[in-house]
Subunit: 315 residues, 2 copies
Amino acid sequence: LDLGGTFLKYALGTREGEILLKDKKPSEADQPRAAVFRVMFEAIDEMVKAGAEFQGVVRAIGCGSPGSVDFDRGKLLGNTPNITDWGNADIRGEIEGRFGLPTWVDNDANVMTLAEAECGAAKGFRHVIAITLGTGIGGGIMVNGSIYRGGHYAGAELGHVSVQFDGLACNCGGRGCIEQYASAPAMVRNYMEKLRQKSRDVSQTVTTKTIFTQAAKGEQEAIKTIDETCEYLGAALASIVNIFNPEIIVIGGGVADAGDEFIAQIWSALKSRAMPPSLKGLRLVHAELGNDAGVVGAIRLAACMYDRIEKGPCE
Amino acid sequence: LDLGGTFLKYALGTREGEILLKDKKPSEADQPRAAVFRVMFEAIDEMVKAGAEFQGVVRAIGCGSPGSVDFDRGKLLGNTPNITDWGNADIRGEIEGRFGLPTWVDNDANVMTLAEAECGAAKGFRHVIAITLGTGIGGGIMVNGSIYRGGHYAGAELGHVSVQFDGLACNCGGRGCIEQYASAPAMVRNYMEKLRQKSRDVSQTVTTKTIFTQAAKGEQEAIKTIDETCEYLGAALASIVNIFNPEIIVIGGGVADAGDEFIAQIWSALKSRAMPPSLKGLRLVHAELGNDAGVVGAIRLAACMYDRIEKGPCE
Protein backbone atom coordinates (compact mmCIF):
# COMPACT_ATOMS: atom_id res chain seq x y z
CA LEU A 1 0.00 0.00 0.00
CA ASP A 2 1.23 3.45 -0.91
CA LEU A 3 -1.07 5.92 0.80
CA GLY A 4 -1.09 9.47 -0.51
CA GLY A 5 -3.19 12.60 -0.16
CA THR A 6 -5.01 11.87 -3.42
CA PHE A 7 -4.71 8.16 -4.16
CA LEU A 8 -4.08 4.90 -2.41
CA LYS A 9 -1.89 2.95 -4.80
CA TYR A 10 -1.65 -0.77 -4.11
CA ALA A 11 -0.12 -3.83 -5.60
CA LEU A 12 0.44 -7.52 -5.24
CA GLY A 13 4.06 -8.50 -5.58
CA THR A 14 6.69 -11.15 -5.15
CA ARG A 15 9.28 -11.20 -2.40
CA GLU A 16 11.79 -9.72 -4.83
CA GLY A 17 9.64 -6.65 -5.45
CA GLU A 18 8.19 -7.66 -8.80
CA ILE A 19 4.69 -6.26 -9.25
CA LEU A 20 2.12 -8.90 -10.30
CA LEU A 21 -0.91 -6.67 -10.21
CA LYS A 22 -1.49 -3.03 -9.32
CA ASP A 23 -4.30 -0.53 -9.02
CA LYS A 24 -5.29 2.69 -7.26
CA LYS A 25 -8.32 4.23 -5.54
CA PRO A 26 -9.09 7.73 -4.29
CA SER A 27 -7.73 7.77 -0.73
CA GLU A 28 -10.64 9.79 0.74
CA ALA A 29 -8.05 11.85 2.53
CA ASP A 30 -10.52 14.58 3.53
CA GLN A 31 -12.90 12.09 5.18
CA PRO A 32 -12.86 10.70 8.73
CA ARG A 33 -10.16 8.07 9.22
CA ALA A 34 -12.61 5.16 9.07
CA ALA A 35 -13.17 6.04 5.40
CA VAL A 36 -9.44 5.97 4.68
CA PHE A 37 -9.10 2.61 6.42
CA ARG A 38 -12.11 1.32 4.45
CA VAL A 39 -10.30 2.13 1.21
CA MET A 40 -7.20 0.34 2.48
CA PHE A 41 -9.21 -2.71 3.56
CA GLU A 42 -10.89 -2.96 0.16
CA ALA A 43 -7.50 -2.81 -1.53
CA ILE A 44 -6.10 -5.55 0.72
CA ASP A 45 -9.20 -7.70 0.13
CA GLU A 46 -8.67 -7.44 -3.62
CA MET A 47 -5.00 -8.33 -3.37
CA VAL A 48 -5.56 -11.28 -1.02
CA LYS A 49 -8.15 -12.68 -3.45
CA ALA A 50 -5.86 -12.02 -6.40
CA GLY A 51 -3.09 -13.91 -4.62
CA ALA A 52 -4.97 -17.16 -5.21
CA GLU A 53 -5.20 -16.43 -8.94
CA PHE A 54 -1.42 -16.31 -9.03
CA GLN A 55 -1.24 -19.66 -7.22
CA GLY A 56 0.19 -17.81 -4.24
CA VAL A 57 -0.67 -16.62 -0.75
CA VAL A 58 -0.36 -13.12 0.66
CA ARG A 59 1.98 -13.52 3.63
CA ALA A 60 2.66 -9.97 4.71
CA ILE A 61 1.62 -6.38 4.11
CA GLY A 62 3.80 -3.29 3.70
CA CYS A 63 2.52 0.26 3.75
CA GLY A 64 3.97 3.69 3.11
CA SER A 65 2.20 6.67 4.67
CA PRO A 66 2.85 10.41 4.71
CA GLY A 67 3.95 11.80 8.06
CA SER A 68 6.31 10.62 10.77
CA VAL A 69 5.77 6.93 11.37
CA ASP A 70 6.78 4.99 14.47
CA PHE A 71 8.22 2.12 12.49
CA ASP A 72 8.42 -0.26 15.43
CA ARG A 73 4.73 0.17 16.22
CA GLY A 74 3.38 0.88 12.73
CA LYS A 75 1.65 4.05 13.95
CA LEU A 76 1.60 7.67 12.84
CA LEU A 77 3.35 10.11 15.15
CA GLY A 78 1.25 13.25 15.21
CA ASN A 79 -0.54 14.59 12.15
CA THR A 80 0.20 14.88 8.47
CA PRO A 81 -1.12 17.83 6.46
CA ASN A 82 -2.30 15.79 3.46
CA ILE A 83 -4.70 13.43 5.24
CA THR A 84 -7.19 15.25 7.43
CA ASP A 85 -7.99 12.71 10.14
CA TRP A 86 -4.79 10.67 10.22
CA GLY A 87 -3.19 11.87 13.48
CA ASN A 88 -1.61 8.97 15.41
CA ALA A 89 -3.46 6.49 13.16
CA ASP A 90 -2.68 2.90 14.23
CA ILE A 91 -2.19 1.54 10.73
CA ARG A 92 -0.57 -1.75 11.74
CA GLY A 93 -3.09 -2.35 14.50
CA GLU A 94 -6.09 -1.82 12.21
CA ILE A 95 -4.74 -3.96 9.37
CA GLU A 96 -3.39 -6.79 11.51
CA GLY A 97 -6.61 -6.76 13.54
CA ARG A 98 -8.68 -7.28 10.42
CA PHE A 99 -6.51 -9.52 8.25
CA GLY A 100 -4.26 -11.33 10.72
CA LEU A 101 -1.30 -10.74 8.40
CA PRO A 102 1.97 -9.27 9.68
CA THR A 103 2.09 -5.62 8.61
CA TRP A 104 4.88 -3.04 8.52
CA VAL A 105 4.39 0.66 8.04
CA ASP A 106 6.96 3.34 7.27
CA ASN A 107 7.13 6.93 6.13
CA ASP A 108 6.48 7.15 2.37
CA ALA A 109 9.85 8.72 1.56
CA ASN A 110 11.62 5.91 3.41
CA VAL A 111 9.59 3.34 1.47
CA MET A 112 10.50 4.98 -1.85
CA THR A 113 14.16 5.03 -0.83
CA LEU A 114 14.00 1.33 -0.04
CA ALA A 115 12.43 0.69 -3.45
CA GLU A 116 15.11 2.58 -5.38
CA ALA A 117 17.87 1.01 -3.28
CA GLU A 118 16.68 -2.55 -3.68
CA CYS A 119 14.98 -2.61 -7.07
CA GLY A 120 15.69 0.70 -8.78
CA ALA A 121 18.41 3.20 -9.58
CA ALA A 122 20.48 2.44 -6.47
CA LYS A 123 20.31 -1.34 -6.66
CA GLY A 124 23.39 -2.92 -5.12
CA PHE A 125 24.44 0.16 -3.13
CA ARG A 126 24.50 0.31 0.65
CA HIS A 127 24.92 4.05 1.27
CA VAL A 128 22.12 5.82 -0.52
CA ILE A 129 20.56 9.26 -0.39
CA ALA A 130 17.20 9.67 -2.12
CA ILE A 131 15.63 13.05 -2.64
CA THR A 132 12.23 13.84 -4.14
CA LEU A 133 11.60 17.21 -5.75
CA GLY A 134 7.90 18.02 -5.87
CA THR A 135 5.46 20.24 -4.01
CA GLY A 136 7.84 19.74 -1.14
CA ILE A 137 11.29 18.19 -0.95
CA GLY A 138 11.44 14.83 0.77
CA GLY A 139 14.21 12.40 1.34
CA GLY A 140 15.37 9.07 2.58
CA ILE A 141 18.69 7.74 3.80
CA MET A 142 20.08 4.23 3.55
CA VAL A 143 23.08 3.60 5.76
CA ASN A 144 24.98 0.28 5.63
CA GLY A 145 22.06 -1.21 3.73
CA SER A 146 19.38 -0.16 6.23
CA ILE A 147 16.90 2.70 6.09
CA TYR A 148 17.89 5.32 8.66
CA ARG A 149 14.86 6.51 10.60
CA GLY A 150 16.47 8.74 13.22
CA GLY A 151 16.42 8.52 16.98
CA HIS A 152 12.68 9.21 17.12
CA TYR A 153 11.57 8.42 13.54
CA ALA A 154 11.91 12.05 12.47
CA GLY A 155 15.14 11.90 10.43
CA ALA A 156 15.88 12.32 6.74
CA GLU A 157 14.12 15.66 6.36
CA LEU A 158 16.42 16.49 3.48
CA GLY A 159 14.15 19.30 2.28
CA HIS A 160 15.02 21.09 5.48
CA VAL A 161 18.74 21.35 5.05
CA SER A 162 19.39 25.08 5.18
CA VAL A 163 21.36 26.71 2.39
CA GLN A 164 20.95 30.32 3.47
CA PHE A 165 21.57 31.58 7.00
CA ASP A 166 19.36 34.66 6.63
CA GLY A 167 17.21 33.02 3.98
CA LEU A 168 13.50 32.58 3.38
CA ALA A 169 11.37 31.52 6.34
CA CYS A 170 10.22 27.93 5.94
CA ASN A 171 6.92 26.56 7.23
CA CYS A 172 8.95 24.02 9.23
CA GLY A 173 9.97 26.91 11.48
CA GLY A 174 13.48 27.12 10.05
CA ARG A 175 15.18 29.52 7.72
CA GLY A 176 16.74 29.10 4.28
CA CYS A 177 15.61 25.46 3.85
CA ILE A 178 16.32 24.05 0.39
CA GLU A 179 12.58 23.37 0.03
CA GLN A 180 12.12 27.15 -0.19
CA TYR A 181 14.56 27.34 -3.13
CA ALA A 182 14.17 24.20 -5.21
CA SER A 183 10.69 22.70 -4.76
CA ALA A 184 8.18 23.10 -7.59
CA PRO A 185 6.39 26.08 -5.96
CA ALA A 186 9.74 27.73 -5.21
CA MET A 187 10.82 27.39 -8.84
CA VAL A 188 7.51 28.82 -10.06
CA ARG A 189 7.74 31.71 -7.59
CA ASN A 190 11.30 32.47 -8.64
CA TYR A 191 10.37 32.35 -12.33
CA MET A 192 7.30 34.58 -11.92
CA GLU A 193 9.42 37.13 -10.10
CA LYS A 194 11.86 37.25 -12.99
CA LEU A 195 8.98 37.74 -15.44
CA ARG A 196 7.58 40.51 -13.28
CA GLN A 197 10.96 42.25 -13.18
CA LYS A 198 10.89 42.29 -16.97
CA SER A 199 7.25 43.49 -16.88
CA ARG A 200 6.26 40.34 -18.71
CA ASP A 201 2.82 38.72 -18.62
CA VAL A 202 2.31 36.89 -15.32
CA SER A 203 -1.37 36.01 -15.76
CA GLN A 204 -0.62 32.58 -17.26
CA THR A 205 -0.67 29.41 -15.19
CA VAL A 206 2.92 28.33 -14.73
CA THR A 207 4.17 24.92 -13.66
CA THR A 208 7.72 23.63 -13.60
CA LYS A 209 6.93 22.04 -16.96
CA THR A 210 6.31 25.51 -18.41
CA ILE A 211 9.68 26.62 -17.10
CA PHE A 212 11.55 23.69 -18.64
CA THR A 213 9.69 24.15 -21.94
CA GLN A 214 10.47 27.87 -22.03
CA ALA A 215 14.10 27.18 -21.18
CA ALA A 216 14.33 24.73 -24.08
CA LYS A 217 13.12 27.58 -26.29
CA GLY A 218 15.97 29.74 -24.98
CA GLU A 219 13.99 32.07 -22.72
CA GLN A 220 16.49 33.71 -20.36
CA GLU A 221 14.20 33.95 -17.31
CA ALA A 222 13.44 30.23 -17.48
CA ILE A 223 17.09 29.31 -18.02
CA LYS A 224 18.16 31.47 -15.11
CA THR A 225 15.48 29.95 -12.85
CA ILE A 226 16.73 26.44 -13.62
CA ASP A 227 20.37 27.51 -13.15
CA GLU A 228 19.60 28.93 -9.73
CA THR A 229 17.57 25.88 -8.70
CA CYS A 230 20.49 23.62 -9.59
CA GLU A 231 22.99 25.83 -7.76
CA TYR A 232 20.88 25.71 -4.60
CA LEU A 233 20.36 21.96 -4.90
CA GLY A 234 24.11 21.54 -5.39
CA ALA A 235 24.74 23.50 -2.19
CA ALA A 236 22.28 21.43 -0.14
CA LEU A 237 23.60 18.17 -1.59
CA ALA A 238 27.20 19.26 -0.87
CA SER A 239 26.39 19.48 2.85
CA ILE A 240 24.65 16.10 2.68
CA VAL A 241 27.59 14.54 0.79
CA ASN A 242 30.14 15.94 3.25
CA ILE A 243 28.12 14.45 6.09
CA PHE A 244 27.30 11.05 4.57
CA ASN A 245 29.82 10.30 1.88
CA PRO A 246 27.09 8.28 0.11
CA GLU A 247 27.82 6.00 -2.84
CA ILE A 248 24.84 7.21 -4.80
CA ILE A 249 22.22 9.97 -4.76
CA VAL A 250 18.87 9.24 -6.41
CA ILE A 251 16.77 12.20 -7.48
CA GLY A 252 13.07 11.69 -8.13
CA GLY A 253 9.78 13.56 -8.13
CA GLY A 254 8.03 15.67 -10.72
CA VAL A 255 10.67 18.39 -11.00
CA ALA A 256 13.45 15.85 -11.60
CA ASP A 257 11.53 14.36 -14.54
CA ALA A 258 12.84 17.31 -16.54
CA GLY A 259 15.59 15.06 -17.81
CA ASP A 260 19.27 14.28 -17.92
CA GLU A 261 20.48 17.82 -18.44
CA PHE A 262 18.84 18.93 -15.20
CA ILE A 263 20.57 16.10 -13.32
CA ALA A 264 23.89 17.00 -15.03
CA GLN A 265 23.50 20.62 -13.96
CA ILE A 266 22.86 19.64 -10.33
CA TRP A 267 25.94 17.40 -10.47
CA SER A 268 28.08 20.23 -11.74
CA ALA A 269 26.95 22.50 -8.87
CA LEU A 270 27.46 19.71 -6.34
CA LYS A 271 30.94 18.93 -7.69
CA SER A 272 32.05 22.54 -7.33
CA ARG A 273 31.03 22.61 -3.66
CA ALA A 274 31.47 19.21 -1.99
CA MET A 275 34.78 17.92 -0.60
CA PRO A 276 36.81 15.91 -3.12
CA PRO A 277 37.23 12.81 -0.89
CA SER A 278 33.46 12.70 -0.32
CA LEU A 279 32.81 12.99 -4.06
CA LYS A 280 35.09 10.09 -4.95
CA GLY A 281 33.08 7.40 -6.72
CA LEU A 282 29.81 9.23 -6.07
CA ARG A 283 26.97 8.86 -8.58
CA LEU A 284 24.02 11.18 -9.02
CA VAL A 285 21.20 9.51 -10.92
CA HIS A 286 17.56 9.86 -11.78
CA ALA A 287 15.06 7.65 -9.91
CA GLU A 288 13.94 4.64 -11.95
CA LEU A 289 10.70 3.43 -10.47
CA GLY A 290 8.62 6.58 -10.87
CA ASN A 291 5.04 6.16 -9.66
CA ASP A 292 5.64 2.52 -8.76
CA ALA A 293 8.33 3.34 -6.18
CA GLY A 294 5.81 3.49 -3.32
CA VAL A 295 4.27 0.07 -3.92
CA VAL A 296 7.57 -1.61 -4.82
CA GLY A 297 9.08 -0.25 -1.60
CA ALA A 298 6.08 -1.41 0.44
CA ILE A 299 6.39 -4.91 -1.05
CA ARG A 300 10.12 -5.03 -0.28
CA LEU A 301 9.52 -3.67 3.22
CA ALA A 302 7.03 -6.47 3.91
CA ALA A 303 9.33 -9.08 2.35
CA CYS A 304 12.46 -7.98 4.25
CA MET A 305 10.73 -7.79 7.59
CA TYR A 306 8.88 -11.09 7.04
CA ASP A 307 12.17 -12.79 6.20
CA ARG A 308 13.59 -11.45 9.42
CA ILE A 309 10.76 -13.03 11.43
CA GLU A 310 11.29 -16.34 9.66
CA LYS A 311 15.07 -16.41 9.74
CA GLY A 312 15.86 -14.42 12.87
CA PRO A 313 17.52 -11.04 13.17
CA CYS A 314 21.06 -12.17 12.30
CA GLU A 315 20.37 -13.16 8.72
CA LEU B 1 47.03 5.53 20.72
CA ASP B 2 45.75 9.00 19.92
CA LEU B 3 48.01 10.44 17.26
CA GLY B 4 47.96 14.20 16.77
CA GLY B 5 50.01 16.83 15.01
CA THR B 6 51.84 17.74 18.25
CA PHE B 7 51.58 14.77 20.63
CA LEU B 8 51.02 11.06 20.58
CA LYS B 9 48.84 10.41 23.61
CA TYR B 10 48.68 6.81 24.72
CA ALA B 11 47.18 4.75 27.47
CA LEU B 12 46.69 1.29 28.84
CA GLY B 13 43.10 0.52 29.63
CA THR B 14 40.51 -2.06 30.49
CA ARG B 15 37.93 -3.45 28.07
CA GLU B 16 35.37 -1.03 29.54
CA GLY B 17 37.47 1.99 28.66
CA GLU B 18 38.92 2.68 32.10
CA ILE B 19 42.39 4.20 31.84
CA LEU B 20 45.01 2.38 33.98
CA LEU B 21 48.02 4.38 32.86
CA LYS B 22 48.52 7.20 30.39
CA ASP B 23 51.29 9.33 28.96
CA LYS B 24 52.24 11.39 25.90
CA LYS B 25 55.24 12.00 23.67
CA PRO B 26 55.96 14.54 20.91
CA SER B 27 54.63 12.90 17.74
CA GLU B 28 57.53 14.05 15.51
CA ALA B 29 54.91 15.02 12.95
CA ASP B 30 57.34 17.02 10.82
CA GLN B 31 59.76 14.07 10.50
CA PRO B 32 59.75 11.18 8.00
CA ARG B 33 57.11 8.59 8.78
CA ALA B 34 59.60 6.12 10.26
CA ALA B 35 60.13 8.62 13.10
CA VAL B 36 56.39 8.82 13.78
CA PHE B 37 56.13 5.03 13.80
CA ARG B 38 59.15 4.86 16.12
CA VAL B 39 57.30 7.05 18.63
CA MET B 40 54.23 4.82 18.36
CA PHE B 41 56.30 1.66 18.80
CA GLU B 42 57.96 3.04 21.93
CA ALA B 43 54.57 3.89 23.37
CA ILE B 44 53.24 0.41 22.65
CA ASP B 45 56.35 -1.18 24.16
CA GLU B 46 55.81 0.78 27.36
CA MET B 47 52.15 -0.19 27.56
CA VAL B 48 52.78 -3.87 26.85
CA LYS B 49 55.37 -3.95 29.64
CA ALA B 50 53.05 -2.05 31.96
CA GLY B 51 50.33 -4.61 31.27
CA ALA B 52 52.26 -7.16 33.29
CA GLU B 53 52.48 -4.78 36.26
CA PHE B 54 48.67 -4.69 36.29
CA GLN B 55 48.58 -8.49 36.24
CA GLY B 56 47.12 -8.29 32.74
CA VAL B 57 47.97 -8.82 29.10
CA VAL B 58 47.62 -6.39 26.22
CA ARG B 59 45.29 -8.16 23.78
CA ALA B 60 44.57 -5.53 21.17
CA ILE B 61 45.54 -2.03 20.04
CA GLY B 62 43.31 0.83 18.98
CA CYS B 63 44.54 3.98 17.29
CA GLY B 64 43.03 7.29 16.24
CA SER B 65 44.76 9.23 13.49
CA PRO B 66 44.04 12.51 11.73
CA GLY B 67 42.93 12.18 8.12
CA SER B 68 40.59 9.83 6.27
CA VAL B 69 41.21 6.29 7.44
CA ASP B 70 40.23 3.12 5.61
CA PHE B 71 38.85 1.46 8.70
CA ASP B 72 38.70 -2.00 7.18
CA ARG B 73 42.40 -1.93 6.30
CA GLY B 74 43.72 0.34 9.03
CA LYS B 75 45.40 2.62 6.48
CA LEU B 76 45.38 6.35 5.79
CA LEU B 77 43.58 7.40 2.62
CA GLY B 78 45.65 10.19 1.12
CA ASN B 79 47.38 12.83 3.20
CA THR B 80 46.62 14.79 6.33
CA PRO B 81 47.89 18.35 6.74
CA ASN B 82 49.09 17.94 10.34
CA ILE B 83 51.54 15.08 9.84
CA THR B 84 53.99 15.73 7.06
CA ASP B 85 54.85 12.25 5.82
CA TRP B 86 51.69 10.34 6.71
CA GLY B 87 50.10 9.85 3.28
CA ASN B 88 48.57 6.36 2.91
CA ALA B 89 50.45 5.23 6.04
CA ASP B 90 49.74 1.55 6.75
CA ILE B 91 49.25 1.96 10.49
CA ARG B 92 47.70 -1.44 11.12
CA GLY B 93 50.25 -3.21 8.94
CA GLU B 94 53.21 -1.64 10.73
CA ILE B 95 51.89 -2.23 14.24
CA GLU B 96 50.60 -5.76 13.66
CA GLY B 97 53.83 -6.62 11.83
CA ARG B 98 55.89 -5.61 14.86
CA PHE B 99 53.75 -6.62 17.81
CA GLY B 100 51.54 -9.40 16.45
CA LEU B 101 48.57 -7.85 18.25
CA PRO B 102 45.27 -7.20 16.44
CA THR B 103 45.08 -3.48 15.72
CA TRP B 104 42.27 -1.21 14.59
CA VAL B 105 42.68 2.31 13.30
CA ASP B 106 40.06 4.98 12.75
CA ASN B 107 39.82 8.69 12.09
CA ASP B 108 40.45 10.65 15.32
CA ALA B 109 37.05 12.36 15.32
CA ASN B 110 35.33 8.97 14.99
CA VAL B 111 37.41 7.63 17.88
CA MET B 112 36.46 10.61 20.06
CA THR B 113 32.80 10.12 19.16
CA LEU B 114 33.02 6.47 20.18
CA ALA B 115 34.59 7.51 23.49
CA GLU B 116 31.87 10.04 24.32
CA ALA B 117 29.14 7.63 23.20
CA GLU B 118 30.40 4.67 25.20
CA CYS B 119 32.08 6.22 28.24
CA GLY B 120 31.30 9.94 28.21
CA ALA B 121 28.54 12.49 27.76
CA ALA B 122 26.49 10.33 25.39
CA LYS B 123 26.72 7.07 27.31
CA GLY B 124 23.68 4.89 26.67
CA PHE B 125 22.60 6.70 23.50
CA ARG B 126 22.56 5.08 20.07
CA HIS B 127 22.06 8.10 17.79
CA VAL B 128 24.82 10.54 18.55
CA ILE B 129 26.33 13.56 16.83
CA ALA B 130 29.68 14.77 18.16
CA ILE B 131 31.19 18.03 17.05
CA THR B 132 34.57 19.48 18.00
CA LEU B 133 35.15 23.21 17.87
CA GLY B 134 38.83 24.04 17.59
CA THR B 135 41.24 25.18 14.91
CA GLY B 136 38.87 23.36 12.58
CA ILE B 137 35.46 21.87 13.16
CA GLY B 138 35.36 18.10 13.18
CA GLY B 139 32.64 15.63 13.81
CA GLY B 140 31.53 12.09 14.27
CA ILE B 141 28.24 10.30 13.83
CA MET B 142 26.91 7.27 15.67
CA VAL B 143 23.92 5.63 14.02
CA ASN B 144 22.08 2.73 15.69
CA GLY B 145 25.02 2.33 18.04
CA SER B 146 27.70 2.15 15.32
CA ILE B 147 30.12 4.80 14.11
CA TYR B 148 29.10 5.89 10.63
CA ARG B 149 32.11 6.11 8.36
CA GLY B 150 30.49 6.84 5.00
CA GLY B 151 30.55 4.90 1.76
CA HIS B 152 34.29 5.52 1.32
CA TYR B 153 35.39 6.50 4.86
CA ALA B 154 34.98 10.20 4.10
CA GLY B 155 31.74 10.95 6.00
CA ALA B 156 30.98 13.03 9.09
CA GLU B 157 32.70 16.17 7.87
CA LEU B 158 30.37 18.21 10.05
CA GLY B 159 32.59 21.30 9.79
CA HIS B 160 31.72 21.40 6.12
CA VAL B 161 27.99 21.77 6.40
CA SER B 162 27.28 24.99 4.55
CA VAL B 163 25.28 27.70 6.28
CA GLN B 164 25.64 30.40 3.64
CA PHE B 165 25.01 29.87 -0.06
CA ASP B 166 27.17 32.81 -1.17
CA GLY B 167 29.34 32.63 1.92
CA LEU B 168 33.06 32.56 2.65
CA ALA B 169 35.22 30.29 0.51
CA CYS B 170 36.42 27.31 2.54
CA ASN B 171 39.74 25.55 2.01
CA CYS B 172 37.75 22.34 1.42
CA GLY B 173 36.69 23.84 -1.90
CA GLY B 174 33.17 24.63 -0.74
CA ARG B 175 31.43 27.81 0.23
CA GLY B 176 29.87 29.01 3.48
CA CYS B 177 31.05 26.01 5.54
CA ILE B 178 30.35 26.35 9.26
CA GLU B 179 34.11 25.97 9.90
CA GLN B 180 34.51 29.43 8.34
CA TYR B 181 32.05 30.91 10.86
CA ALA B 182 32.47 29.10 14.14
CA SER B 183 35.98 27.62 14.44
CA ALA B 184 38.47 29.33 16.75
CA PRO B 185 40.22 31.24 13.90
CA ALA B 186 36.84 32.30 12.50
CA MET B 187 35.76 33.67 15.87
CA VAL B 188 39.03 35.55 16.27
CA ARG B 189 38.77 36.99 12.75
CA ASN B 190 35.19 38.07 13.34
CA TYR B 191 36.11 39.69 16.65
CA MET B 192 39.16 41.54 15.23
CA GLU B 193 36.99 42.91 12.46
CA LYS B 194 34.54 44.31 14.98
CA LEU B 195 37.42 45.92 16.90
CA ARG B 196 38.78 47.39 13.68
CA GLN B 197 35.37 48.83 12.80
CA LYS B 198 35.45 50.66 16.14
CA SER B 199 39.07 51.71 15.49
CA ARG B 200 40.12 49.78 18.57
CA ASP B 201 43.56 48.39 19.22
CA VAL B 202 44.11 45.22 17.17
CA SER B 203 47.80 44.70 17.95
CA GLN B 204 47.10 42.36 20.88
CA THR B 205 47.19 38.59 20.53
CA VAL B 206 43.64 37.36 20.64
CA THR B 207 42.43 33.82 21.28
CA THR B 208 38.90 32.59 21.83
CA LYS B 209 39.71 32.77 25.54
CA THR B 210 40.27 36.52 25.20
CA ILE B 211 36.87 36.84 23.54
CA PHE B 212 35.06 34.94 26.28
CA THR B 213 36.90 36.91 28.98
CA GLN B 214 36.05 40.23 27.33
CA ALA B 215 32.42 39.17 26.91
CA ALA B 216 32.24 38.33 30.61
CA LYS B 217 33.39 41.91 31.27
CA GLY B 218 30.51 43.17 29.12
CA GLU B 219 32.47 44.20 26.00
CA GLN B 220 29.95 44.52 23.18
CA GLU B 221 32.24 43.36 20.36
CA ALA B 222 33.06 40.16 22.22
CA ILE B 223 29.43 39.53 23.16
CA LYS B 224 28.34 40.09 19.58
CA THR B 225 31.05 37.72 18.26
CA ILE B 226 29.84 34.96 20.57
CA ASP B 227 26.19 35.63 19.68
CA GLU B 228 26.96 35.31 15.98
CA THR B 229 29.03 32.16 16.48
CA CYS B 230 26.16 30.53 18.33
CA GLU B 231 23.61 31.61 15.69
CA TYR B 232 25.74 30.06 12.94
CA LEU B 233 26.32 26.89 14.94
CA GLY B 234 22.58 26.70 15.58
CA ALA B 235 21.93 26.94 11.84
CA ALA B 236 24.42 24.18 10.98
CA LEU B 237 23.15 21.95 13.77
CA ALA B 238 19.54 22.52 12.65
CA SER B 239 20.36 21.00 9.25
CA ILE B 240 22.14 18.12 10.96
CA VAL B 241 19.24 17.56 13.36
CA ASN B 242 16.67 17.63 10.55
CA ILE B 243 18.72 15.01 8.71
CA PHE B 244 19.58 12.73 11.64
CA ASN B 245 17.07 13.26 14.38
CA PRO B 246 19.83 12.33 16.87
CA GLU B 247 19.11 11.67 20.53
CA ILE B 248 22.07 13.70 21.70
CA ILE B 249 24.65 16.17 20.39
CA VAL B 250 28.00 16.35 22.17
CA ILE B 251 30.05 19.51 21.74
CA GLY B 252 33.74 19.42 22.54
CA GLY B 253 36.99 21.12 21.64
CA GLY B 254 38.73 24.22 22.95
CA VAL B 255 36.02 26.70 21.96
CA ALA B 256 33.29 24.71 23.67
CA ASP B 257 35.22 24.76 26.96
CA ALA B 258 33.86 28.29 27.37
CA GLY B 259 31.13 26.84 29.55
CA ASP B 260 27.49 26.14 30.03
CA GLU B 261 26.23 29.49 28.87
CA PHE B 262 27.85 29.01 25.46
CA ILE B 263 26.16 25.60 25.11
CA ALA B 264 22.84 27.14 26.21
CA GLN B 265 23.16 29.85 23.61
CA ILE B 266 23.82 27.31 20.82
CA TRP B 267 20.81 25.34 22.01
CA SER B 268 18.61 28.41 21.84
CA ALA B 269 19.71 29.11 18.23
CA LEU B 270 19.25 25.45 17.29
CA LYS B 271 15.78 25.34 18.86
CA SER B 272 14.61 28.34 16.88
CA ARG B 273 15.66 26.72 13.58
CA ALA B 274 15.27 22.93 13.68
CA MET B 275 11.98 21.09 13.06
CA PRO B 276 9.98 20.45 16.25
CA PRO B 277 9.61 16.65 15.69
CA SER B 278 13.39 16.34 15.23
CA LEU B 279 14.01 18.35 18.41
CA LYS B 280 11.79 16.15 20.56
CA GLY B 281 13.81 14.63 23.35
CA LEU B 282 17.08 16.00 21.92
CA ARG B 283 19.91 16.88 24.30
CA LEU B 284 22.81 19.19 23.60
CA VAL B 285 25.65 18.64 26.05
CA HIS B 286 29.28 19.40 26.63
CA ALA B 287 31.82 16.62 25.99
CA GLU B 288 32.95 14.92 29.19
CA LEU B 289 36.23 13.22 28.43
CA GLY B 290 38.25 16.24 27.33
CA ASN B 291 41.84 15.38 26.44
CA ASP B 292 41.31 11.72 27.32
CA ALA B 293 38.62 11.20 24.68
CA GLY B 294 41.16 10.05 22.07
CA VAL B 295 42.76 7.33 24.17
CA VAL B 296 39.48 6.20 25.76
CA GLY B 297 37.97 5.88 22.28
CA ALA B 298 40.99 3.97 21.00
CA ILE B 299 40.73 1.56 23.94
CA ARG B 300 37.01 1.03 23.34
CA LEU B 301 37.61 0.61 19.60
CA ALA B 302 40.13 -2.15 20.28
CA ALA B 303 37.88 -3.77 22.88
CA CYS B 304 34.73 -3.72 20.69
CA MET B 305 36.49 -5.08 17.64
CA TYR B 306 38.38 -7.70 19.64
CA ASP B 307 35.11 -8.88 21.20
CA ARG B 308 33.67 -9.21 17.74
CA ILE B 309 36.51 -11.49 16.68
CA GLU B 310 36.02 -13.58 19.80
CA LYS B 311 32.24 -13.73 19.77
CA GLY B 312 31.38 -13.46 16.09
CA PRO B 313 29.69 -10.65 14.24
CA CYS B 314 26.16 -11.27 15.56
CA GLU B 315 26.87 -10.41 19.17
